[in-house]
Amino acid sequence: MITALRWLVFGVAAFAMNFPILVTLATSFKSARELSTNPGLWVNAPTLENYSAVFTVSDRLNIFLYLFNSIVVALLGTGLAVALALPAAYSIARGKVGERMLLPFIVNLRAVPLIIFAIPLYMMFQWLGLLDTRLGLGLILTIVNLPLALVILVNAIRDLPGEIDEAALMDGAGRKQILISVIAPVCRPAIVTSLIFGFITAWNEFLFGLMLTTSKAVPITVGASFFFAASGGGVQWGVASAVMVVGALPPVLLGLIMYRQISGSMTAGAVKG
């Protein structure tokens, strides 16, 4: 009896929390004609016409460019964040360098509204010619990803026994060597987790994409909103839904495949950070 109640609660919660996703998915398969008569969740005559419209490049909208931009900036913002965080995490965990200042500062950075850096960064990018470039957006996403990557990696290295380092030191290895050939391989799960988590975060970022890009480097989160700009006859809801499904798919698939790692890293960042 109580089990049935639990299933009911699960069903209601899962339905309510995923409701916008379900609606968008259903709408993306509706023809323009069905949309005007049937706003419900059920699709009477599924069609792929919206998807073919989305993947048709026009002079105003180019989804391939947005997707490509998102992939590049997310990879850049994630890879660079981990590349910067790993050696720093090693110094913090083993050398106690930056444990009092650097670590708390970066952890706090996660909680600071990043808009406060947005305006000077915008001006700086204007001077450096980084506005509307994938490199520029990737650098900003690095800042966004740094805090969690650092916390995950510091925790991972702290959990390793110090004997590993000791043995390698005895053999005459330098710290850099130890990091590359001993610590990094052992920490691979933590590195992978921070890469996945960073990729999802970077892909889903919107504020800096909105501010720092206008046409050439627009990521999909911003590009998707272009499809909502009325083109003569108002919003084409079917097409707009298809865009949102396409834009949401990569992080959702990644999340579904790797949800165990992600849930672990979320709690690590929250509880130990």
Binding site: T3, F10, A13, M17, N18, P20, V23, T24, P39, G40, L41, L84, P87, A88, Y90, S91, R94, G95, K96, V97, G98, L102, I106, N108, L109, A111, V112, P113, I115, I116, F117, A118, I119, P120, M123, M124, T142, I143, E166, L169, G174, R175, N204, E205, F206, L207, M211, A224, F228, M244, A248, V252, G255, L256, Y259, I262, S263, T267, A270, V271
Partner: protein
């Protein structure tokens, strides 16, 4: 181990941390200085490189701006309400559903799904969901109850946004609480059952106190994220109706990009900067002191 780390050359560790420090100096340190300089300058798009230092006029204009206070009030209320709702719902779901999830962990994947979707996209999705002609929510309200109302109108926009944010981020609280709930040692629970403690007593006197630190952390994280909200609110309502749903992030964004009021936007950024770091370091200090006291 400690002796070894002390004996190892200190500079090697410093070298390894240097790239990160340099990166932060360039991309956060420099902007912070620009912020400070511009906030006390008379700055326009024409004299960006040679700002005239002019005192605290920018701060005064922010201070006297009613929409700054409206945005602060919105952010505060939005952060508090969503944090409380998300944590209450998440706590209930985590404990009530844990017997199901323990045996089938893929259920958690379904519940976590909203966390994977960009908040900006979720906001756009709700434009469809709540649309008066093509949206299912008004449609079903009409068919079942013969009435609907304007979800994004002046009277209800705030509460609609609260629901949107809460539905997307309750899974985060749920996940945290589920992990904490699972981490409670089984012996404690069994021992209390042996002693004849009732379920609600066990929950109230044993399990919830053990989860208290996680609850505090979840409340804090969700408050911060709600306080600085931008994406979903921006795409759903802009700042309207009538500026009633502008968060502080949106206020700064609009001051800069829409009104071109650089000085005002920068001064507001500096205020937010100082307040958030003061609060965060204060919290760190309190947390460390408590840790020290326990030790």
């Amino acid at each position: 181990m400690t002796t070894l780390t002390q004996r190892a050359p200190f500079s090697e560790f410093k070298q390894l941390a240097t790239p990160l420090v340099l990166f932060l100096l360039v991309f956060l340190g420099f902007p912070a200085i620009v912020n400070l300089v511009y906030s006390v300058s008379d700055v326009t798009f024409e004299n960006l490189r040679h700002p005239q230092v002019s005192g605290f006029a920018n701060f005064a204009s922010v201070w006297n701006d009613a929409s700054f206070w409206q945005a602060s009030w919105f952010s505060l209320r939005f952060g508090l309400l969503t944090a409380l709702l998300e944590c209450a719902l998440g706590l209930f779901l985590a404990i009530f559903l844990s017997p199901l999830i323990e045996r089938r962990s893929w259920l958690m994947a379904i519940l976590m799904l909203p966390l994977m979707v960009a908040p900006a996209l979720v906001g756009l999705m709700y434009r469809l969901v709540l649309h008066e002609f093509v949206g299912p929510v008004p449609y079903y309200l009409w068919t079942w109850f013969g009435a609907s109302f304007s979800f994004l109108g002046p009277a209800s926009a705030f509460w609609t946004l609260i629901v949107v944010e809460t539905l997307q981020w309750t899974p985060f609280a749920l996940l945290l609480f589920y992990m904490a709930y699972q981490a409670i040692p089984k012996e404690i629970v069994e021992a209390s059952a042996m002693d004849g403690a009732r379920y609600r007593h066990r929950l109230w006197y044993i399990e919830l106190p053990l989860m208290a630190p996680t609850i505090v952390v979840a409340l804090l994280i969700r408050f911060i994220d709600g306080f600085r909200v931008f994406d979903n609110v921006y795409v759903l309502t802009g700042s309207g109706p009538g500026g009633s749903t502008a968060s502080l992030s949106i206020y700064i964004y609009e001051a800069f990009f829409k009104q071109g009021a650089i000085g005002k936007a920068v001064a507001a950024s500096v205020i937010l900067f100082v307040v958030s770091f003061a609060v965060l370091y204060g919290l760190n200090y309190l947390a460390n002191r408590r840790k020290g006291a326990i030790r």
